[in-house]
């Protein structure tokens, strides 16, 4: 069942000339894990803002077409109602942290306070969320004393604690080291497995290949490709359009030109690359003279 439906969505910020999203049609089913890829300026963040209702409620500007999440249409609801259904973790955690709270614990509780969750329910929910993202030990620190990667975890936690139906993440690991990235992707996958719908704007293709159910490629505000990771991430259109692709895919494509990749399908993960190149590196029965 569709939980997100965008129909002919075109959007222009108040001070920009050209639309940032152009005639976007997108339907996302409940429980799907959708990755959004695209060069900088393709409209990934704007799409995230649109799903989260910040467009148009906060940024104003001109939105045409319809945006519907969990049965509610943006134009017919206020941002206050919208946040109950959709949570957005910003690309830059600095823009998200309230600045009104002295500790990480209070920061995580901030959203729950705003929607009037009773105190006795709030405390266990915050503790559970902190444990989930592995930052229980930061609970008493000031959000501003943390590193970029730690702030990103706080930003993610403050959204998870709200238990939104749709989780929208804008490059949630951009400031993290590889281990932090792996842990956060683990958390996101857990949420997806529990049935939360996840929309993730991301450059890290290797993680998308491993986790996402579906990939939407945006270019100049338009949907260029939309399909399974194995189809979208191996499309020759991506490299031409300036998208980052995995070294497994680009190397196998080059190898195919040289006759060194024998399969029809190009790889997107290490496992697929190992499997395909094993055919090359071990001689075929014919070559062994059998």
């Amino acid at each position: 069942m569709a939980i997100v439906t965008l129909q002919n969505v075109t959007y222009k910020y108040p001070l920009t000339e050209a639309p940032v999203l152009q005639n976007v049609n997108l339907q996302i089913n409940e429980g799907e894990f959708v990755a959004v890829i695209g060069p900088n300026g393709a409209g990934k963040s704007t799409l995230c803002y649109t799903l989260a209702g910040f467009v148009p409620h906060f940024f104003k500007g001109e939105l045409t077409g319809t945006v519907e999440v969990a049965g509610v249409e943006t134009h017919q609801s206020s941002l206050n109602e919208w946040v109950l259904n959709v949570g957005l973790a910003f690309q830059n955690p600095f823009n998200q942290i309230s600045g009104a709270k002295y500790t990480v614990f209070e920061e995580i509780a901030f959203g729950l306070e705003n929607i009037g969750v009773p105190r006795e329910e709030m405390k266990p929910r915050v503790e559970k969320a902190l444990a989930l993202t592995g930052i229980s030990d930061l609970a008493d620190r000031s959000p501003y004393s943390l590193s970029g990667g730690q702030q990103q975890r706080v930003a993610l936690t403050s959204i998870l604690v709200m238990e939104p139906k749709v989780l929208v993440l804008d490059e949630p690991t951009s400031q993290m080291d590889p281990i932090g990235t792996r842990e956060v992707f683990g958390v996101i996958r857990t949420m997806a497995e529990r049935g939360m719908t996840v929309v993730l704007a991301e450059h890290k293709v290797e993680w998308i290949a491993a986790f996402a159910d579906r990939v939407v490629a945006l270019k100049d505000g338009q949907v260029l490709l939309d399909g399974k990771p194995g189809e979208v991430l191996t499309s020759p259109l991506l490299e031409e359009a300036g998208f980052g692709i995995s070294r497994y895919t680009s190397t196998a494509r080059k190898a195919r030109e040289l006759g060194l990749w024998k399969k029809d399908q190009l790889p997107i993960t290490l496992e697929e690359a190992v499997e395909g190149f094993s055919l090359t590196s071990s001689p075929s029965p014919k070559e062994r003279g059998e």
């Binding site: 993290m176 080291d177 590889p178 300036g242 060194l260 190992v274």
Partner: protein
Amino acid sequence: MKINIENLRFTYPTGLEALRGISLTIASGEQVAIVGQNGAGKTTLVKHLNGLLQPTQGSVHIGDWDTRQHPVSKLAARVGYVFQNPDEQLFSRNVGMEVAFGPKNLGYPAEKVDALVKDALALTELSDKTETNPYDLSSTWRKMVALASIISMDTDIVILDEPTTGQDAVNVRRIAHVIAALRERGKTVITITHDIDFCAENFERVIAMSQGQILLDGPANEVLGQEAVLATTYVDPPQLTRLGLRLGLKETVRNQAEFLTAIRK
């Protein structure tokens, strides 16, 4: 200009010992990548190179200068530092002024400043944006402004802190192109990065740090192939290196050309 670090230890006022005995020599014109988990001491180490931090013990020499005996303002003529987040670095009304600020501050004559600015803008593909306010540019182009404003100071040593964070594939290529140009000019480039594929494709020497110490230091192929040691500082080898290891290739490979050559053997 040679960099010589001897038994460097650094303890923050909080008592945290961030560097625990670093000895390191970087020759003039080397391209070095520093990798390792958050908190390994990478940024603390490079902040010693331009005097932003002073050793608690040991010494840091930039050429013939001991960093303890020269102020940051003088070291700035030898070591340029590009911040991870360009927004912490940019403040001028337009790109041209931003890029001219550094060389002007070093006291260079007007003609030299003009020439340096022009060159830095051309290298970073910003020549058509001199009149633009940096904050009207996308984060991609702001990164290039931050780079240009350091390149224009024409320092022998350039430090890049996480240059590819949040950048798309096109801009990562642009940044790689700038690094290649600096190499041709004989500049020393030291880059902190989590982007291990970028590291593999653009640097000849790799230093892996962990808990304030140097874990590995050597030619990129040697360091990046040591999967088990790198794992202790939470670094995965580059994608093609991992693929080569899994396929049992004899040599460690780190880029497409090396991989395709090795697989034909």
